[in-house]
Amino acid sequence: MAVTPLLETRGLTKSFAGVCVLDHVDFTLRAGEIHALLGENGAGKSTLIKLVTGVVSRDAGTVLLDGAAVDLRSADAALSAGVATVYQEVNMLPNLSVAQNLFLGRQPTRFGFVRESEMRRRATVLLNEFGLDIDVAAPLGDYSVAVQQITAIARAVDMSARVLILDEPTASLDKHEVEILFAAMRQLAGRGIGIVFVTHFLDQVYAISDRITVLRNGRLVGERETAKLPRMELVHMMLGRELSEVTVARSHHVAGMAHPPYAVFRQFGKAGTIAPFDLELRSGEVVGLAGLLGSGRTETARLVFGADRADVGTATVDGRAARLHSPRDAVQLGFGYCPEERKTDGIVAELTVRENIVLALQARRGLLKPLSRREQDEIATRFIKLLDIRPADPERPIGLLSGGNQQKALLARWLAISPRLLILDEPTRGIDVGAHAEIIRLIRQLCADGLALLVISSELEEIVTYADQVIVLRERAHVTALTSDAINVTSILAAIAADLPRAA
């Protein structure tokens, strides 16, 4: 190529605690292009961004800016080199005025006093360039997220950023706001600024991006021109995977449908979170939830578990109308839920493995029926052995364990209550290959033991090996249910990619 790329990475590699999260990734951003960076959770998008901006140090590889190798050590250093990042959770100060946010630390002053009117004038001019005509004296928090995003972008550009990384900027925007943001992005690209656009909305990718790079499991899948990449192929790039030996065997037990459903949800939903859905969960069956990130999978799980309260619909468990107002209700009914965010929603880091394992069982028994220390030891030891949790020390704070072992301990927490229904949100994410296979084996085992399972996974090849039914979600609604022979990766991918709204 004749022109030197604006930003280039070669062979970027990073491991956390022995797990490789980014494996020799090459990425190229040209001046004036909008480059979509795609991949499911854990694909390595945010790690790549953090390595480029120097927030996290890399194990290997080089970052080139204008063809010259750079070694950025902090967000500050990245900014002075012209690389700015704007996150979904806007990193601005909602309590300060728009103008103060734009000029914090570099306000125009005279004799040490901030020239408020001059600052406002400049702010107004700056935002006008982005098609924004707002009162810059009002607190930033009074405005929509779109305005906050654009303000953050304007600040970065005004501080002479040439590479702009937008991390999920549209996640909480409505349609109109997305257009405002896109207009700003196109204008910046026109000025020769290179934009990295991270998102999980495929229609937006087709609406705005010139080029697409897809990551999966920390590896580069490929870089394509947007116009030459069909949607189906893109979805396949994101989710498809060569079958590994662990996940080949598929064993459906045919008698499944004979059971009466254990839990039935009718027109269950919550406004603004997930459209009302019907769901039947049977003992000895696995229902898989498939869909892209943000399609409403986790929202479904949280509603079923009572972590969010449904505002419409009914739940029936064991033939009786059930109250599901809180996780406590769900636990009483015999539901268990292993959330995707283990660290914030799952483990209590400073408590021991034993205490973490008995927590749900104890909560279900109530305060007045404490498990004796001997019972606790017995339960902890049993599950540590059963699930092969390492190190096999029940008195170790769980925060010191590896991700896979934390996940197993969380599974143990729920198995300890002898659950009837277990909800697993991305049970194999972020854990090493060995534990991965064990957890899949365990899912099959639990199913055979007569548990009802609701499993969310981005690993479609995995889902097809254990699910008796796969529900495909799109844009916060359940759109298709696949059963028996229809369950295969191709049909799931087709359902996910089908009917994507055409780009405007």
């Binding site: 996780p327 959330p339 914030t344 400073e350 927590l359 305060l367 008195e395």
Partner: protein
């Protein structure tokens, strides 16, 4: 958050013994104990006796702090319950007096718990309200006077004894046992530690975190009310201005010395009480050694800083770095 292994409490015990030893060197009669009128007397007994109110407060405070909270109102609650007990003592039977004083404590606890657990106000802000208004309420009850009483039943709480043990010590010991049974005999302790460690995860595991938070503030206020009764009985009157003044700070200090982190999670009731005794032993030691009692505050300030710095995540990180460099 820094991860800590379950503490052993050895530093606290050693510190307490060391302070006692120092006290003994400055005052050779320190360990002398004599029995008089069926009650034990002596400097050592004095440490326990005078440390009782703060020890009681720390019993409640440690639970509040374990849930990542703080209760600034305990001193004011002491003043309220003391005022009620003293005002009623000479005209009402003891059970009524106790019920009224402890009932007031219960209400204060419910108020704090409501603000923190239900309305979601930061604990330091929520309990500040009662800290400011509570002393006014206590003065309202005593009408600004120092209300004295003579009812022997109530006097017992300050000057009485059980098997020779001064009543405040016996009551504190009793409360320690009751709290231990309530917290460690049931699953409450685990639930509180889980709530303080990670409230989100605990709620998702089915723990009733709201009820847990409410309960610890109620218990804290109840302990404060009991401490208020003892303080009133000790001086045979209620001084709404000075009863329990600054004791909330001593109680927090006792908890911190007892090794419970201000960032919640793991807690130890016994070491919090030991922390209160360490504070009192220092006080007594300073008195015995002939230093001015005013020296106390300075010593406390230094102790707070040293203990905090030892707990500080930054400093332990620094220590780790240093040990690595030295290798």
């Amino acid at each position: 958050m820094a991860l800590r292994l379950p503490r052993s409490g050895v530093p606290q015990v050693l510190a307490f013994l060391a302070i006692l030893a120092i006290n003994w060197t400055v005052s050779p009669q320190f360990f002398d104990i004599r029995l008089q009128d069926g009650r034990l007397f002596g400097s050592l007994i004095d440490v326990f006796n005078r440390g009782a109110p703060v020890a009681l407060l720390s019993l409640g405070m440690v639970l509040v702090i374990a849930t990542r909270g703080i209760d600034l109102s305990v001193g004011a609650v002491m003043a309220i319950s003391g005022a009620i007990a003293a005002s009623l003592a000479d005209t009402h039977p003891l059970p009524v007096v106790l019920a009224a004083a402890l009932g007031a404590g219960l209400l204060c606890g419910l108020w704090n718990g409501l603000l923190v657990a239900v309305l979601g106000i930061q604990p330091i802000v929520a309990t500040l309200i009662l800290m400011v208004a509570g002393r006014g309420i206590a003065q309202l009850i005593t009408e600004g006077r120092i209300v004295t009483f003579t009812a022997p039943e109530l006097v017992w709480f300050g000057g009485g004894s059980v098997l020779g043990i001064p009543a405040p010590v016996a009551i504190t010991l009793g409360m320690l046992l009751v709290t231990l049974i309530l917290v460690r005999g049931t699953a409450l302790g685990l639930m509180i530690e889980a709530t303080g460690g990670n409230a989100r995860a605990s709620a998702l595991a089915g723990v009733g975190t709201t009820a847990m938070t409410m309960a610890v503030y109620v218990w804290c206020s109840l302990c404060a009310a009991l401490a208020g009764i003892i303080a009133a009985a000790d001086i045979l009157g209620a001084d709404a201005n000075n009863a329990g003044l600054w004791l909330e700070l001593d109680a927090i200090l006792a908890v911190v010395i007892g090794g419970t982190s201000l960032f919640g999670g793991r807690f130890s009731l016994v070491y919090a009480v030991l922390g209160a005794l360490i504070i009192q032993a220092m006080n007594t030691g300073i008195l015995l050694s002939g230093f001015r009692p005013e020296f106390n505050l300075v010593v406390k300030a230094v102790v707070v800083l040293v203990v905090l710095l030892m707990q500080s995540p930054r400093l332990s990180g620094l220590g780790l770095l240093l040990s690595r460099v030295s290798k």
